[in-house]
């Protein structure tokens, strides 16, 4: 996958870290220190459909489908997460119990064009 740089316009992964201390949540969230709320951004013009981050064969298959269906050239595809992982939290609940929980698919590791 591609990480967004300053002026990248194509589909890429934008890193964004939420520091729990900065938002005043460090008293009830024990671990971790923050949340990597990365997200996908960027353009997915036709010739990029199915890349990056997905199998090249998938890309070829998508392009063939588009040619076969002479899809409208104006149609773009979407820049979406292609790999995600859980966010593991250790926190106090409203009864001050210590809870450990894994929230699935909360952290985006890679982005790609559908």
């Amino acid at each position: 996958s591609i990480d967004c740089r300053g002026d990248s316009r194509m589909c890429c992964r934008q890193e964004f870290f939420v520091d729990f201390k900065e938002i005043g949540w460090e008293d009830w969230i024990i671990q971790p220190e923050g949340y990597h709320m990365n997200y996908c951004a960027g353009l997915c013009p036709l010739h990029m459909a199915g890349i990056p981050g997905l199998a090249a064969s998938f890309h070829t298959a998508v392009l063939n489908l588009i040619k076969a269906n002479s899809a409208d050239a104006a149609m773009d595809s979407c820049c979406v997460p292609t790999q995600r992982r859980p966010l593991s939290l250790l926190y106090y609940d409203q009864h001050s119990n210590i809870i450990k929980t894994d929230i699935p698919d909360m952290i985006v590791d890679a982005c790609g064009c559908t």
Binding site: E26, Q31, M37, L43, I103, M106
Partner: protein, 217 residues
Amino acid sequence: APRGVWCPACGLAALAPTTQRDVLIALAKQSILSKLRLSDRPNITQPMPRGALLTALHRMYAQRTDVSPGMPRDDSTSHLHPGMGSSTSRSVCLHFHFTQELAGSTEILQATLYLFWAVPGPGTHPVTVRLLQPDPTGLNTTVASETRLEVQRAGWATLDVGQAVQSLFSQGSPRLTVELEVAHDWGSPLLAGHSDSHWPFVAAQARARLPHQIQQR
């Protein structure tokens, strides 16, 4: 937004960086709270010092990964007790170690042993729970108490061990041994092999024994 700068993904005018940051942080908060099914962030009245909490958690985890005091050591390998119950009985021993600093100046207000039973099938399954404590020489163990339970279904069961733990502490030996004796066909009465979420454990409420104030008479 600066003139002519466009959000690459949606073609709308890009947000000013500070506005975008605020929007993303609000989104992160809402996303975490909704996944934890919390309407708002909990208000912690007495947050425990972070360092102390993390030390306790690391120590608990470290214990589990090396000596695993809470985990039943598998003494049950065809461990027959002559003269105890039917000759086909078998027993499992659990050893609970309490940290040294707890043993000295601490008064145990209550202590409860939690066991997760794994029953072999329908019906009731008798189990004898013995609390053992080292004799004064420390070489052997004596039975401090014996309880007979009829287990009908799998799940958590509790047993009050406050008296036994208090007497152990007063003897200065911070180690509680629990012996479970079951009929031979039961196999292991505890959920063995599973993740540590079903390990037996002892929850105790204790109070630091304050040094006796000298009463001015």
